[in-house]
Amino acid sequence: MNELRIKRGYSLNLVGAPSPDLEQLNRPDRVAVLPERIPFIKPRLKVAVEDTVKVGSVLFIDKRRPEITFLSPGGGKIAEINFGPRRVIREIVVALDEKEAFEPFPKLDGTEIDSIERLDLITTIINGGMWPLIRELPYRDIARPEAMPPAILVGMDAKEPFLANPESYLKGNVDLFRSGLRILRRLAGENSVHLFTSPRQDYVRQTLGSDITCLVSGPYPADDPGVMLYHTKTSSSENRAWFVQGQDVLMLARLFAFGRYPTERVVAVGGSAADRPRHFRTRLGVPLIHLAPEVKHNGDVRYTAGGLFRGYAIPSSSYLGIYETALNLVPEGNVPGELLGLFRPGPRKPTFSRAFTSRVHRRALTVDCNVHGGDRACIACGYCTYVCPVDILPQFTYKALYAGEVEEALSHGLLDCVECGLCSFVCPSKIDLYETFKQAKADVYLEQLRA
């Protein structure tokens, strides 16, 4: 087992960490898929409102690759299809029947997985609607089925505040997880599947033992596959490694084990405004209100699908997307700061800098979504370079992009950016570095696809 220490990054100590208890939620009466939240795809609807669907019926396909299907996480009637600006498909909502019907998919046991042709395996995964869970670095689009991945990376940790902890979804499912790894190993062909976790994940280490290839320690986002890749790669042929989230390995395994489109999800609900911060066993595409009917804060609360860094703000009336395994609730922060806060020592202010006394107290802090400052020009404080886990120099890369020098930004390592958001977080000038990089990466990608 290799060990890797990541030095750069930053872990905040925040209140509202989900407790490891796993609570079974009762069945919601609706579930949904959020095509808008699946990066890069061009969805084409295959259903209309009022249609009857089974668990596993095709809801839409990706126009770029019509063979890639997105399946229904519930059986019942299409209750709503909601569109956003420019007719992007926001939500496809399924009202669940009392007794749901299932599309049948082939069941494969361990030996069958090992003996099936790799291409047939891929087809099975695609038809089972699980292919979108396999993604490709550096752009994090859905993997190209025809490509041979230089490696498949699976991270088993939850460093971002707050994500579902592996222990919570792994308990009772270890064998299933192993068979999921088996599928990935077949997909990787000659190349390897890297399963990595943190030395602190005792449960994962004990139960998965020799399946773990690397122990990665360090602050957020040391658990990101892109960080792991950056620190281990030796040639640029490895840049396009694939990655799968820990919990998605289980999904893949369930498809093969039960011959049904898997709909179970363990979701962490956290954040200082979460009424009951803990893990819930629930359905894919669960309504947010079902996860958190109450909030614990007087004032506006931001619902964040995913972690506080990478997750996105979403109305409480919406649903959890297929990639998200967490809902975070924190105060919106749309109120003026305290009087003359500028001059106060700040024992409760979350910060990376050392400019508040909170850095001495080390107690868990409360964050909100206030920007905490006005937009300024870069003052070259260098904080962004101190936190970037993949040694990008965000301030210089940003300037290069600002000047339209994409080639230069690429040479700085733009594509190695793991989209962790730390650079934007620490920037005292409140520059949207992360958003700029993410956009620039996407532009490079789209350009490439057109060429």
């Binding site: 990478r310 910060t351 905490h372 934007s424 000038s429």
Partner: protein, 395 residues
């Protein structure tokens, strides 16, 4: 408290988009944010942002400078009373000091704020708090006798030529306060160099009383004829190491007090505002270069070459420049390695300018400005080297 909140809430609409004073929003924002953080929330990921903003960052630098102002007020008054033969009791001394320092600060801030607001309004960006630091630094580097109109011209030059014409804060490569200071030095040498300008005379006095010598330690070191015994010459002029540390001698308003610069350096380094690499680099550059100069010096070389490294560090405003000017993150080198080199260069050049070109007795300012010019090059070199180490990932 509520009153202030209400005031901003009712006035904001005039400055917001569509309001009567929309154009002056930067000025409004700059003042409001001193009292309250704006209720502005993140629109893009990451959802959460650090509590630190540029305002606090810069405010902490100003906090570090306050003791220098306290000292400056005292020392200006004290030297003035000494030279004028008046009582050196604390209150009258402070009064004289305040009378000399406060008008300069007020003028510098007013003029600086005017220029920054003008450019902010025209260019439609928010007012950068770097301005307040430049305006706090600038008066501390001036002689106490500076005419107010020169202070005004100096800061105007510093802000407009040193910063705004390059696109404002963040794009300037010279330290604005130093640019202004250097401009005054070259444009108005009479009021900005020589021994007389460093002491303010009070009352009817037009020449210092007998027995008061206004010579600064740098000028003593530069002109002494006592070959091989420069330290004794300094001591004879009253410049013991203790006095050099305490800075209680004629000099710029707040730069001479080396001991406070040390405190300020620790404060800013501990808070993560000033980069220790630059400061330590400066000190190393100064000590090693001075040592080298010492080694090269022979019996017959100019006495200045014999000045020991530690004296170099203590005399004049060198450390003040290193701690507060060289560390200005925008005009310094940005990369960690380059910061060492940058600092080292500042320290080394200060010694060389002092020793070999005594016409500019205070070399630190010029040395830092000179290194400001090289900082981008140093950064480029380091970035090139770093990029070479990456496994390429270019799509």
């Amino acid at each position: 408290m509520k009153l202030i909140e209400r005031f901003f809430n009712t006035t904001r609409k005039h400055f917001d988009a569509g309001g009567r004073f929309e154009k002056y929003y930067p000025v409004f924002e700059s003042i409001e944010s001193v009292f309250f953080g704006a209720p502005r929330v993140t629109q893009t990921a990451p959802n959460i942002r650090d509590s630190l903003d540029v305002k606090r960052y810069m405010a902490l630098v100003i906090v570090a400078l306050l003791p220098h102002y306290a000292f400056g007020v005292y020392n200006v008054g004290y030297q003035s009373h000494l030279a004028s033969g008046l009582s050196t009791a604390l209150l009258p001394v402070l009064f004289t000091g305040l009378k000399a320092v406060v008008p300069v600060v007020v003028v510098v801030y007013a003029v600086g704020f005017f220029w920054e607001s003008l450019f902010a309004v025209v260019r439609k960006h928010e007012i950068s708090e770097g301005l307040f630091v430049s305006c706090a630094l600038f008066p501390l580097t001036l002689p106490p006798t500076i005419p107010l109109w020169q202070a005004a011209i100096g800061i105007s030059f510093g802000i407009v030529i040193g910063k705004e014409i390059f696109g404002g804060t963040g794009r300037n490569f010279l330290n604005p306060a130093l640019t202004g200071r250097a401009f005054l030095y070259f444009a108005y040498p009479v009021q900005n160099s020589g021994d007389a300008v460093w002491t303010l005379l009070t009352g009817s006095q037009t020449v210092p009383v007998d027995g008061f010598t206004g010579a600064t330690p740098l000028s003593v070191a530069a002109v002494t004829e006592r070959f091989g015994d420069i330290h004794q010459a300094l001591a004879d002029a009253g410049y013991t190491p203790l006095k050099l540390l305490l800075g209680t001698y004629p000099g710029s308003v707040g730069g001479t007090v080396t001991i406070l610069s040390v405190v300020g350096a620790l404060f800013l380094i501990i808070l993560g505002i000033a980069n220790y690499r630059i400061i330590v680099g400066c000190v190393l550059g100064m000590l090693l270069t001075a040592l080298l100069v010492n080694l090269l010096a022979s019996e017959s070389s100019i006495p200045y070459m014999h000045l020991s490294p530690l004296y170099h560090l203590m005399v004049g405003g060198a450390l003040f420049g290193f701690v507060y000017m060289a560390t200005d993150p925008v005009s310094a080198a940005h990369m960690q390695g380059a910061r060492w080199v940058f600092g080292f260069g500042c320290g080394a050049l200060t010694v060389l300018i002092r020793v070999f070109n005594p016409a500019f007795p205070e070399g630190a300012g010029l040395a830092i400005l000179f290194m400001n010019l090289f900082a981008p090059l140093l950064d480029r070199i380091e970035i090139k080297l770093r990029i070479k180490k990456r496994v390429p990932n270019v799509g």
